[in-house]
Subunit: 636 residues, 2 copies
């Protein structure tokens, strides 16, 4: 072949340095591998398969699917001591939070208490995190209320409650299905930046919602965006009650100082954990003594004694509400998953433990399915409770069992006492929790390190604050996906030069001392080459050549970073070869990866390019080009 | 530092082989570079900036934006000869196609002729392709009719026509804006596979639509999907007319044989190009002689003499139609762009010429804006006409001017003659054109090379055939984007080994002879590491380590293929380091690229990992690890 390169590596040379042109793998093999990588990246069944006999295999499988079988046999008194302490501590947080968040969702406060009784038992059996404490969360509570709208909660509170149970069932089934189908991949698309911004924005709107309680307003908007809420507060300024505001400020100052104490002296974490309970008790006592309701201090109102009544007969699948129910269930389910999994993982990492996202989804799902049958609404792993649980030294999910038992006692004997809780106290508790969710430092960190991450974060933050929670989330995820697509649509290319006295070729811009090879342009392509970026890749390659001041005779494309290629991508490379061929420039490919080379073989691409133009390393290719150049020179 | 690696390359060693830890670039610099890569990958203004003085710069700029200034001064008689020949040939195709496609869009046939008169002049001025012939296309014509629905076209044909002009204006503005904003990137997401499938599916449904003409049916469904159409033909079998069917089959056989001749003897391309005109003329004569209408052969009906009347006063922006108009305009605009650009580019590549996607968009946009003012509907670069133009030897866009002039003559003098054209003749012309658009070979090629590409193609094909054109397109693009996201969500990793007697490290699976390094696991990561794949990357790395039979002391991550990283990605790597640290495994990073290293510096990631754990090449890292291992061994 005229002008062919002397490619010492093209065939099975004795040195064994050739490109491996052997036949591509079977399609079935590749598909199985791909599916495994997509859905089972952690290869969970491998240890089970290694067990010698069927009995052990069943045992391992049971342990895998129901984690309680793994940790309970190893359980001892020492661990129990810690778990009991942690369980009691989180109960003291669960009571006020349960009541407060139920208020946020516009449902009877007792539902909030019910929700801390049944689900923790379910989680203890199926959950894989040792630190997570089960409970309701502010963001999802508000989001549920937003989805169904205030009208329904006012006009027909019974129907409203039943729809919320139904949405909880939907959430449960959705979460379970996601875990079962191993679709943890969907949660991955809620990036860290999105969650930071979403939490911050949610905190802002929940904080503003609480001003209703602090100012003791009777009339208030039911929209959640910043503008409507501030407008509503200003318009209703005639209703402001100084008693309420004073109490609110006192409580908030108290709660924030307990937080401050915790930050100063981490050992005193229980001061902060007990804080909300103290506020509730003090509030109840004061409200009872001064007959607060007469002075315009609103209280929670009647709370019935007794355990969760069944709610399975109330589930409502009427088609006219089904759309709303599905939307509420799925959106809150996704957010609850993202929050719960992220939080569970963060704390596990601190202890060098592992949590399994797919197992967590199944546990959350079962918890909500069972919850929806027993008068509970959506539960997940809230940040504040989990942090307290972690600090209290929990060792296993047993702390959730302890919390469940404590909650049972509260429901059986103490519930009516909490009916005097002043709303302003609850508002202060929520506000204090929300202040901790606005993560300024993280936002500043994002701003400094990655401007696009910052934009994603801010779009969630401002979207939630000024539009609504679901739009904020959608906008932010949209930006993230746009970014992901931009990555693939505009993969970075760079020109390589030789690091002096070595066979390494590196980015010339990054290593300015590296030397260019005369007559050769060496480009490193990153990412897959496929339909979404093939035009760009072609333009960019041609531009590199155009920008070259010297005469170019060889274009060397380093494909080490190209993880895959599709039909459009290969056509693009052929097009580049044709265009360059017309300018007497030869195209050389270097180190195509396994999958890429397989496709090139299947589509006869290698034959079209010529095997002698495919090399295993840049150095080999440069040697061959130079040899060819020096040989070609004397000819004319 | 205890256990630190002896990294000869960590500082500015005399050999100059160190990792370049210099300060990151300024944000502004990076942003400008990023924007340039995203929107101006071909760097179009560079040659202009190189001009010495302002006058030359203006001239170059004018030449850039209005390509006619570039080619017209160099125009000569020799080129004119070819262009006149090509122009006349494509006119003979434009007349029957214009009438047929207007029928497809349910608008008066004369509009189809108008659409081949004004737009070609506009394209000749602004277009950058030398091969493209301007005209209407079947797919978009049918899609427009589908969007507005048959009811409107029946009940109020005037309003229907005015809305189509308005949609054409929307298309024009949209295409112009896309070109102006350099959003060619959007067209990239219509992959080759999608277009193959979409064209095939469209050909199927258009073929079926033509059976109405061939069977001479009076009643026919207005749905486009295969099931409805076949059902409609069977139900109305009482209306079948053998005269019509016979004529249709004859015409089709004639046209297909001219195509066959062209394929056999490419020099005789004009036989095939003139075919449709012959059908029309023969059809007219026969219909006139036998008084076809009396025998149930339907004809086109009255065609007025005269040039395009202005239509600017008919544009209709009433809000109740606006949604439909915008949808029709934008969807057809996108498809027309994708088709026009892809076709223009395919032919340019054969001649080793270049077309500029963004310029083409501007030209198409202007063409449609002007068209919508002068009673034309959507035009682009149809495949059949462009192929004929190319074969006829066109040299410049002047052939479009010639076609425009010929069309003017037709409109002024010959139009009424064509009113005798039998519909069955038009049906045969369309069917013959459509048969060429089903690209079986390409589909089989996709099936063989890339199963996912095949799925994308088939989803467009069957989606268009059995649901509707827009859904088919959306499903297919959805699959493509899903694939793009899967690429980034599940980047391939592989384990590297040393190729014997070299310093090259390659995929062990691909090169089975390569040697593993004792105590070290070397992994190559591909693609960016960011939110969408960070969980996967972590799981995958940990699994590689778990699967290792020997004791692992070092994990070497080759980051050469990692084109970028975000905050979540860096946290993931730190998490991996912490988890491995607990197992006494040290993590070493190799050759982070420019952008990646910059972000690592900004977020103090490098300090957390330790500079001595970052190497420039795998070989350096392996040397350091081995040195460390041999040193560590004797100690205990």
């Amino acid at each position: 072949m005229e002008g062919a390169l002397t490619n010492s590596s093209s065939s099975t040379s004795p040195k064994g340095r050739g490109v491996n042109f052997s036949a591509p793998r079977n399609f079935g093999v590749k598909l199985r591998k791909k599916c495994k990588e997509t859905f089972f990246p952690d290869d969970p069944f491998k240890p089970i398969g290694q067990e010698p006999n069927g009995l052990m295999k069943t045992k391992k499988l049971l342990e895998y699917f129901i984690p309680v079988f793994e940790w309970l046999p190893k359980y001892d008194l020492q661990k129990l001591k810690y778990d009991v302490l942690a369980g009691i501590t989180i109960t003291s947080l669960a009571v006020p939070q349960g009541i407060s968040y139920a208020k946020l969702a516009s449902i009877p406060p007792i539902i909030g208490l019910y929700s801390s009784f049944v689900p923790p038992f379910v989680y203890a059996v199926f959950g894989s995190s040792n630190n997570l404490a089960v409970g309701t969360v502010a963001a999802c509570s508000l989001l549920i209320a937003e989805t169904f709208g205030e009208e329904m909660s006012k006009n027909d509170p019974e129907l409203y409650l039943h729809l919320i149970f139904t949405a909880t069932l939907v959430t449960g089934i959705f979460q379970f299905a996601m875990g079962f189908l191993r679709l943890g991949i969907l949660v991955d698309f809620l990036s860290h930046s999105t969650i930071t911004g979403f939490m911050g924005g949610t905190a802002i709107i929940i904080l503003l919602q609480q001003l209703k309680g602090v100012f003791g307003l009777a009339h208030f908007t039911h929209k959640t965006d910043v503008v409507s809420v501030i407008h509503s507060i200003v318009v209703n300024r005639a209703e402001w009650k100084w008693q309420s505001t004073l109490a609110g400020v006192c409580f908030l100052v108290f709660l924030q100082s307990t937080r401050h104490i915790k930050q100063r002296y981490p050992k005193l974490f229980w001061v902060s954990a007990m804080g909300p309970m103290v506020v509730v008790i003090v509030g109840c006592v004061v409200a009872f003594l001064v007959k607060g309701t007469a002075h315009g201090i609103q209280t929670v109102g009647p709370l019935k004694k007794g355990l969760n009544p069944p709610s399975i007969q109330h589930l409502n699948f009427e088609s006219k509400y089904l759309g709303m129910v599905l939307k509420a269930g799925i959106v809150t389910g996704l957010i609850a998953l993202a929050e719960g999994i992220a939080i569970g993982r963060s704390f596990a990492v601190m202890k060098n433990e592992q949590t399994d996202g797919n197992k967590e989804m199944i546990a959350f799902g079962l918890m909500n399915v069972v919850g929806s049958f027993t008068s509970c609404y959506l539960t997940t792993g809230p940040f504040s409770k989990t942090a307290v649980n972690y600090n209290a030294g929990t060792k296993t999910p047993m702390s959730n069992v302890v919390m469940g038992i404590c909650m049972m006692l509260v429901l059986l004997f103490l519930a009516p006492l909490f009916s005097y809780t002043p709303l302003v106290g609850l508002s202060a508790i929520i506000m204090s929790a929300m202040l901790g969710l606005i993560n300024y430092e993280e936002m500043y960190h994002l701003y400094k390190v990655d401007k696009f991450d910052f934009v994603v974060c801010m779009s969630a933050f401002f979207g939630v604050s000024f539009i609504s929670m679901d739009y904020g989330l959608i906008i932010s995820v949209g930006f993230s996906i746009l970014r992901a697509l931009l990555y693939v649509a505009r993969p970075s290319t760079c020109k390589l030069g030789r690091i002096p006295n070595s066979v390494m070729f590196r980015d010339i811009e990054q290593y300015p001392t590296s030397e260019e090879m005369l007559g050769c342009v060496i480009l490193q392509l990153g990412s897959p080459i496929f339909f979404a970026n093939s035009t760009y890749v072609r333009e960019r390659i041609l531009r590199w050549i155009r920008d070259e001041p010297e005469v170019v005779e060889f274009l060397l494309l380093d494909l080490s970073g190209v993880s895959t290629i599709d039909v459009t991508g290969m056509e693009t490379l052929l097009e580049v070869q044709r265009i360059l061929g017309a300018k007497d420039i030869k195209m050389v490919l270097i180190n195509p990866r396994f999958e890429v080379l397989e496709k090139m073989m299947l589509s006869h691409f290698v034959e079209k390019i010529g095997k002698e133009y495919v090399f295993l390393s840049i150095d080999d290719a440069v040697q061959a080009c130079r040899f060819n150049l020096s040989k070609a020179k004397p000819e004319p």
